[in-house]
């Protein structure tokens, strides 16, 4: 092991020596452009513009691939000019980059699309801790060279605070999304919110006290925030994870921007604030989709509906079950079918079979569309990715506001693995826990078919009167199995 490490170090040193010649050439070129410092700043400007253009490319699926490439190009330029500016390459960077590249490749290529929320959570965490480490290194450097006046102070503290909360918070969120046993249950203790508030208060005070140039506060801030990240995230339930990841996404950007203030670097500030803004927008979209305030998601426990009608009252004698064969007959001669996928569809891995069903219907001249609720998956836009993986064309994926008025012109609406997002109670009963939450008005369709294992409630824990509606048929069973049988029945018919 040690031997191996030694050899790695020797190899890195060799690389450093052989690259000295190349470095001189590059530095000469840089000098021609007004020096490496100047070159770096020009590079940062170009990189910032590329980041903005890159995100702008994300405004349409056609241009998104190019947008992502522009972002990556911007990153490459920013890193290259930084390396030139910093002079001789050091083993610190080379070994760090090699290890990071290997890890990044592994994670990005191995991950399944259903696991995307965990991966993004994990990456948020990495971004957070990287910012903390940068601020930490700068604090140490300034402490070792007191004659070097820096502006770290307050912002180093803020970086430590936001970055460390992002790190542990993201790890807990990723654990919950991966459904690891240790994280499965929301966990909290009495007085936790008070403890959190006190910790935030102490953290902010320590940050402020760093403004006069003292440095020791940085380390207690980081320790405190590491604990705080865990305490803030553990009480939050799995259903609220889309909000939490979006918020942590924003934090990771803000931490990078704060680190930019610490080392006085424009490109960190610009890129960080772009990401911070992006995360905040997504957070607010997710909150609206659940009709809850951010404070409510973060701090309130979901109260079980106490005085609502019981499942027996809602369902008794009104549930009509159907079979794949019956549904196949029903689908004969229809014109427009809307499919409403929920996370249950992804869990059952039924995306590809659903796509097969849609192909079959389209070959008979039926119009097929998908109604996507903003919280259909486990993170913003997750369901769209899962369906795109199954080759569903993106122009068939309709947003809630766009498709809701058209349900009345729909012959058959097929709900697969979704519950709360199609519960009409949200519109009709102001006392319900989901009152006011925007839902898909599938009840307006001529016939609704709900594919579901049982009548068990969704995350909100309330019965769904849609299932008992006159125009609703229940097809009980595993989503994938039901779809396979339906496709077979359609082919026979």
């Amino acid at each position: 092991m040690l031997d191996c490490l030694n050899r790695l170090l020797l190899a890195a040193e060799d690389l450093v020596e052989t690259s000295d010649g190349a470095l001189e050439t590059v530095q000469e070129a840089a000098a021609a452009l007004g020096g490496p410092e100047r070159l770096a700043n020009v590079g940062y400007l170009v990189a910032s513009v590329l980041f903005i253009l890159g995100i702008k490319g994300m405004t349409h699926p056609r241009t998104a691939v190019r947008g992502n490439m522009l972002g990556a190009l911007g990153m490459l330029i920013a890193v290259v000019v930084t390396l030139i500016k910093s002079g001789a390459p050091q083993w610190v960077w080379i070994s760090g980059m090699l290890a990071g590249t290997a890890g990044g490749l592994f994670l990005a290529l191995k991950v399944q699309m259903t696991q995307m929320p965990q991966l993004v959570a994990l990456f948020n965490g990495f971004g957070g801790i990287a910012s903390v480490l940068v601020a930490g290194a700068e604090v140490l450097r300034l402490a070792a060279t007191p004659e070097d006046e820096g502006t770290a102070g307050l912002f180093a503290g803020l970086t430590g605070l936001i970055g460390a909360v992002t790190f542990t918070g993201s790890l807990v969120a990723a654990g919950k999304l991966q459904e690891l046993k240790q994280f499965k249950k929301p966990w909290s203790f009495g007085g936790q919110q008070l403890a959190n508030a006190v910790m935030v208060g102490i953290g902010v005070l320590l940050c402020i006290s760093m403004a006069d140039g003292t440095a020791w506060e940085f380390f207690p801030i980081v320790l405190l925030s590491l604990v705080l990240g865990v305490l803030l995230t553990s009480p939050i339930g799995g259903a609220d994870m889309p909000v939490v990841i979006a918020l942590l996404n924003s934090y990771s950007g803000l931490a990078a921007a704060a680190a930019g203030f610490v080392i006085n670097n424009n490109v960190l500030i610009i890129a960080g604030s772009l990401v911070g803004a992006s995360g905040l927008i997504l957070t607010s979209i997710m909150c609206k989709a659940m009709n809850r305030s951010l404070a409510n998601v973060l701090f309130a426990k979901l109260e079980p509906a106490a005085d609502g009608p019981s499942a027996d009252e809602v369902y008794a004698g009104k549930i009509k079950a159907t079979s794949p064969e019956e549904l196949a007959m029903l689908l004969d001669g229809v014109q427009r079918v809307i499919i409403i996928p929920g996370y249950g569809l992804a869990v059952a891995q039924a995306q590809h079979t659903v796509r097969e069903l849609a192909n079959l219907l389209e070959s008979r001249g039926v119009t097929v569309e998908y109604a996507i609720h903003p919280v259909a998956g486990r993170m913003p836009g997750h369901m769209n990715v899962l369906l795109a993986e199954a080759d569903v064309p993106y122009d068939q994926l309709k947003e809630m506001d766009e498709i809701n008025p058209t349900f009345s012109q729909c012959d058959v609406a097929i709900v697969i693995g979704a519950n709360d997002v199609v519960n009409p109670v949200a519109n009709t009963d102001p006392t319900s826990p989901i009152a006011g939450m925007p839902v898909l008005n599938v009840g307006d369709a001529r016939t609704v078919v709900v594919v579901k294992r049982s009548l068990s409630p969704g995350f909100a824990g309330i019965p769904n009167p849609l299932f008992a509606a006159d125009n609703c048929l229940m097809m009980f069973g595993d989503g994938k199995k039901a779809m396979v049988e339906l496709v077979a029945a359609l082919k026979e018919a």
Partner: protein
């Protein structure tokens, strides 16, 4: 660079961010998140610039490691997803 200049840049960048990101359709929100995540790996620049003393070198190494993970993993996984949206 004085603090006011830095704050000016910060404020303007936040506004630019809000303006473009509100135009991203919900279909692309997941790739937007992973892609912007990769961009927040810009701390890699900071990680290279930081350091100098022995202790801060260790922190620098870890910072480079995590930031590179973020950059490489983020851009690549975003590309994987966007390719799925491209094909018809």
């Amino acid at each position: 660079m004085d603090i006011i200049t830095a704050l000016t840049i910060f404020a303007l960048a936040v506004f630019v961010g809000f303006e473009i990101i509100t135009k991203v359709p919900p279909t692309l929100h997941t790739p937007l998140m992973s892609g912007s995540n990769a961009i927040s790996g810009i701390t890699l620049v900071g990680a290279v610039l930081a350091g100098g003393t022995a202790w801060s070198n260790i922190l620098g190494f870890l910072a480079v490691l995590f930031a590179t993970l973020n950059v490489i993993g983020g851009f690549l996984v975003t590309h994987r997803m966007l390719e799925m949206f491209k094909k018809k």
